[in-house]
Symmetry: D2
Subunit: 114 residues, 4 copies
């Protein structure tokens, strides 16, 4: 059973080891795989309008692509020794200081880096 | 404290709601943001050789980009109603059937879709 | 003066040679750089509605990102020995057979590979 | 015959018009398609070592993906009213000032934006 991020990390480590794929799972390659899977996920949305719902079959494919992105992200974090939850918590603190709720409310500008 | 995926999902929901950003967080836009962050993460590796270690400062930036990818992935999954751990578990089952350990060992071909 | 694709290819070759950057411009790395620049270009559009016009300053940045994508594409094609115009002409023929005008008119399905 | 960028731009305009696809070819969507094709191109290189040559069949697929990236780039530039060669020429001038040959020779740092 996979009930936590740790379970998933361990399951994926075993999966890779059983197949002797460690030689391919270098961080550089894993970032490429992560981007490729994220792009395949995005592809399902590229000709849709902003509010267009997904067809049932498309949703199933999207769920698989979301899983692929997650799997490579967990693998990459493991190879780099990064704790995903701790990294996210730290980043949220940074973002909260950068985008104070009372100043950016409702503005897409908040994301604007320029 | 963020101690689980559920904690993170709830924290991010609150973050978005406080800023009235729901209007921007449509699935189509979130897949774009996810790809952008994954590409920014990959950028740190683009001119490196396969085994080149990251400099300390670069590692800190990489950790932040990993966090950004994770944050958008959790947001997207939440908007789509996808349980990340369940989706990953299902995909690992699919992969295990597709790439039996005793047949693909040590071969990069396993990833090859052609 | 850069008046053709050939001019651009030669100008870029000289640019790289003068800086001794050939060692970095391996096809694998160049595909990564291409994706990174394409993602930076896309980033300008990620929170926009489908018909939202670009602000003047954003347009200038978008034009620079379009140029970066073009530059890496010409460099990659040169390293791989691919003639861009000939490759595009061949691909258009393939697409014309795949998507006959009288059968796909007005349907987003045409792009759909599934 | 497609003998120049202008020829290609006109050919693609006709292709899109004949299929009534203008409604899908909004700049936002075209940047997504561009990234998706660039990622599909990159996918062929993700598990390769830096100097690993492409197999013949893979090369044919890579050439098609290069063409797809080029086609979407020309379409996007056309929709945005950007002259690709002029934009590239301007960007090369910017880069030449940013990376003087005698100061960055042989260093990957030149790309480093930090």
């Amino acid at each position: 059973m996979i009930e936590s991020l740790e379970d998933l990390r361990e399951r994926l480590r075993a999966f890779v080891r059983e197949r002797d794929w460690d030689q391919f799972h270098r961080p550089k390659n894993l970032t490429m795989a992560l981007v490729v899977e994220a792009a395949e996920l995005m592809e399902h949305f590229q000709w849709l309008s902003l509010d267009q719902p997904l067809e049932e079959e498309t949703f199933r494919e999207v769920r698989e692509e979301v899983a692929d992105v997650f799997i490579y992200l967990v693998r990459l974090a493991d190879e780099l020794g990064i704790d995903l939850l701790a990294a996210a918590a730290d980043k949220i603190e940074v973002n909260a200081r950068k985008y104070p709720a009372d100043r950016v409310r409702g503005s897409a500008k908040k994301y604007d880096r320029y």
